[in-house]
Symmetry: C2
Subunit: 426 residues, 2 copies
């Protein structure tokens, strides 16, 4: 098929292109692929990098924390000292303001919402007793964030984002005028799915917020803070530093984990917030558990030693992942760019490429891919209530498939994008 902007095609050319693309699609269907690109899962070769972690706490080793506590027994709800220090170092935070939890940062986010919903925080009414609670949701965003707030009946308000982050004028307007706005979901570094990094001005604008609600918190999910795809990544302003400068230390809950550093599901998650917030949250968390897995914390600390070694470990992931992202972007550049029908991000880190298909075709593209054996994240998933008003955004997750599978999947994807666009034109 000739590669020129589709809007320059004559009706005859459109018919011909449609026929040709349909034939290419049928040929793919005949291959009976079965690939899953729905989630941001590390590939097996990434997991192999971390195998030595399993030997980092053998039976002959001491299981005593540097605080003198036996990590094999109950206790130390906020986590072991050395793990709190490690995550503090990763985030540029104070170890006293870091709580090291279980295997899932999502679980810690859920806990923060649940505490505000059931018991209330900062002396405020529990959300369960309020008529309406709202959260701002920069879009496109992370479907599991939206699922959390939806679970608690929180009304989600989409906020547009550009290359610098969310529309901060809109954020400020909502947060400072409406006391029912209790939070905002942020992935500040290599956002899910767009891959953008919030600009320093954006981070400062967050720190400068004067919320109408005393129990407003920025949910700062720093899931990808060290997950670079380039050798010399940006060094963005941290929320800790921005809030310290603005005198708004209690404004954020920050989350991080090693899910995509070591093992998803068998890593360590942490949260970071002002001491007063952390003390309040700990009081509640201490009801639901006696403590999290300190042996796995110790295993991780022994494996990494320090944050610099953790960053060096991430370099190994980068070497595996950068070519996969390049393959996706190269294919889009070659196959889709000339058609003038779509835009996508070129992330310098994180786990996703955010693809904006012609309006009204995202669902169709995902369906076409599915019917030819490639499962993508559902269209709409990147919007609250799975409602993408333009039916345009698709999250591409290149990390899990092998390079050969990825090539096939992206060939199919490009065919489906063309097909859906041509169907719409025809």
């Amino acid at each position: 098929m000739e590669k020129k902007p589709l809007n320059q095609l004559t009706p005859d050319e459109i018919r011909a292109a449609l026929q040709e693309t349909k034939a290419a699609y049928d040929a793919f269907q005949a291959k009976k692929l079965s690939l899953n690109m729905a989630r941001g899962k590390p590939g097996p070769e990434q997991l192999d990098i971390t195998m030595p972690l399993l030997d980092a706490l053998p039976s002959g080793a001491s299981a005593v924390s540097e605080s003198g506590d036996d990590c094999r027994n109950y206790g130390l709800l906020p986590g072991i000292t050395e793990a709190r220090k490690l995550f503090a170092d990763v985030l540029g935070a104070d170890p006293d303001e870091v709580f090291v939890g279980g295997n899932s940062s999502l679980e810690l986010m859920f806990a923060c919402l649940q505490i505000a919903y059931v018991k209330g925080i900062a002396g405020c009414t529990p959300w369960s007793k309020l008529d309406e609670v709202k959260f701002l949701c920069p879009v496109p965003g992370y479907d599991r964030h939206f699922a959390l707030t939806e679970y608690f009946g929180v009304k989600m308000i989409p906020v547009p984002t550009d290359d610098n982050g969310p529309d901060m004028a809109m954020v400020k307007q909502y947060v400072e005028s409406d006391a029912s706005v209790k939070g905002i979901w942020c992935v500040p570094i290599y956002a899910n799915p767009s891959g953008i990094v919030y600009s320093d001005d954006t981070v400062r604008a967050f720190a400068a917020l004067k919320p109408a609600a005393k129990d407003f918190r920025i949910f700062w999910d720093n899931a990808y803070c060290i997950h670079h795809l380039v050798e010399n990544p940006k060094k963005p302003l941290t929320i800790n530093q921005a809030c310290a400068e603005a005198g708004s230390e209690g404004l954020f809950y920050q989350f991080v984990s090693t899910s995509k550093v070591t093992f998803p599901g068998a890593g360590v998650a942490a949260m970071n917030t002002a001491k007063a917030n952390l003390d309040e949250l700990s009081g509640h968390l201490g009801i639901q558990t006696i403590g999290f897995d300190k042996m796995n914390m110790l295993r991780h600390v022994r494996f990494f030693g320090n944050a610099d070694n953790m960053r060096a470990h991430m370099e190994k992931h980068r070497v595996i992942l950068a070519p996969k992202f390049a393959a996706v972007l190269d294919m889009l550049d070659a196959e889709i760019a000339p058609l003038g029908i779509a835009k996508w991000t070129k992330p310098q880190g994180g786990y996703f490429v955010s693809f904006n298909a012609p309006n009204g075709t995202a669902k169709r593209i995902v369906q076409l891919c599915k019917e030819a054996g490639v499962t993508l994240t559902g269209a709409g998933a990147t919007y609250p209530y799975k409602n993408d008003p333009d039916d345009s955004n698709i999250r591409i997750a290149p990390t899990y498939p092998s390079p050969a599978e990825l090539k096939q999947a992206m060939e199919l994807f490009c065919i489906c994008v063309k097909l859906a666009a041509l169907e719409k034109l025809a």
Copy 2:
């Protein structure tokens, strides 16, 4: 001091005994002890038994589950197949009805309550929208259970227990007539703190309940199901079998963990309930986490191989713990029994001895111990709202101290019991 029933002492003898006991107490205070018997913590020598667990999943091993799933990656919310089978075997349950969670059965109990509170179960109104929700609480019971229900504003109703379990006539009356009664806390085997084992008739009476509330569940915390202190333990009727016979399979949530089998905090927890219940709970749990730590599940399965080996492992714990319990009971028999002032349980398993001091003296005894350097579980902790109406029950936790420390602590304890009783008589 002469050992005869205190109620046979003359006023002069009481004054003399008081003086003598006070002197013994002062001598103990001078030793400046610092011992903690507050919690049911395994001792370090018990934790040593489990150290080989740390080598059970080394870097050279496969991390693939028998289902073919890579335990290093996301997925398998209900746990890995072989771990579900292992716990099913321990409980006498169907593996499809077992959910293997994180490191804490308490956390799973909390989740079950939270789901009913926030979302409602079995099509019923969420508890947060009800005027009143009640739980039955067999007493004496486990303080952390009571803390969970108190957290959600649940009204707790104490139910007396005897050697066969809770007063089932009272339980039946409440459960079958009052739709605001949504649950009951049970520790059916080696109850915390009494150590009693529910009789088969009691278990059958539970299974025969016809609750007024569709969302009533028996919270069956089988924390000590394999934690025997005798060589030939009772084999009580399981709740699974009793409910299967009664056709009431959906009536219970059962909980279990390896916290006191392997490592507290770094073990594996599980729950067991009818498939329909489990599917409903899983749907909710899938919002708050992508999955629990499958690598630790695999480590445990590889370490134990099967439930029989887990039971054999418990025998090693028994060898350490039985003498500690014997030391406590021997001391009480020698020092307190002749005085005719108190009763206590002689458990065949579990982690506690339940001691009933003369009414109105439990708080005083705990205070006296504390001021001489031995921390006990707070008096009242074994009752909802920490309110023991008789101020009588004290939970003794003999597991953590070394034998020498335990001897000292129990000597002090007996002196404090005598002292408080004599103070009351004087």
